[in-house]
Symmetry: C2
DNA sequence: CGAATACTTCACCATATGGCAAACTATCAA
DNA sequence: TTGATAGTTTGCCATATGGTGAAGTATTCG
């Protein structure tokens, strides 16, 4: 093989390509600082499985883990998504309809 | 293992996770309807290697291939990126600085 | 027709990924 | 201090991915 996701944007997109990992990210949006077992509870995989996903997310810089006592708090660190977003932005001229959607979305965000 | 990218958004992000494939997409933005060998020429891989990448991109719905005679035209089909984009949009509230950037970008696009 | 061109398919390889059970390492509670 | 709890590490496995060379299929050119 060769290179295997070693640049940041590769790792970001690769991390986002798995539904379990996207689920983790979405949960962390709503409930910050969840523990590893809190995250695992609703999932149908064992802890070692989740660990691997968390490693992928950490390597991509999308989460940060801090251990206090015996529990680990997992927190979102969405910075790398910005790059991913910027990369995708280039393609907007190929779907102007959705450009309108995006504009609406951004405007909605700007309102109080 | 399990599920291996079988839903559309998985396939989209997985397709975007490789630099060769992102290169192909970017070239197709600038020069639509390139042939397979045109795409391969500047790359340091053999045709079968590129073929696999094109298969991944097709399966993700990001390109479309049409054969005329013995040459194949590859065209961008960026629709699935919209979904990817929308997914990423959720995270904007985690980086408001770049939200401003995005707003600027969208506004720039809207000007003639 | 015969040969070159433009892909495509096949068989093969090394490494990655996503999952598990089992064993291990804290840390907190009784 | 024993035991439960929270997480990690270590094999191990099956399948995926990204690459190759070699052979196969059309199509076009001379």
């Amino acid at each position: 093989m060769a290179n295997y996701q070693n640049n940041p944007i590769d790792r970001t997109f690769a991390a986002l390509a798995d539904p379990t990992r996207r689920y983790v990210l979405q949960r962390l949006m709503d409930e910050p600082d969840l523990s590893v077992s809190d995250l695992a509870r609703p999932l149908s995989l064992k802890l070692p499985g989740l660990m691997k996903h968390l490693d992928v997310l950490s390597d991509a810089g999308l989460i940060r883990r801090t251990k206090t006592g015996r529990t680990v708090q997992v927190r979102l660190a969405a910075e790398p998504m910005q790059q991913a977003m910027e990369w995708l932005n280039q393609y907007q001229r190929f779907w102007s309809a959705s450009l309108d959607q995006l504009t609406a979305f951004v405007e909605a965000q700007e309102e109080p």
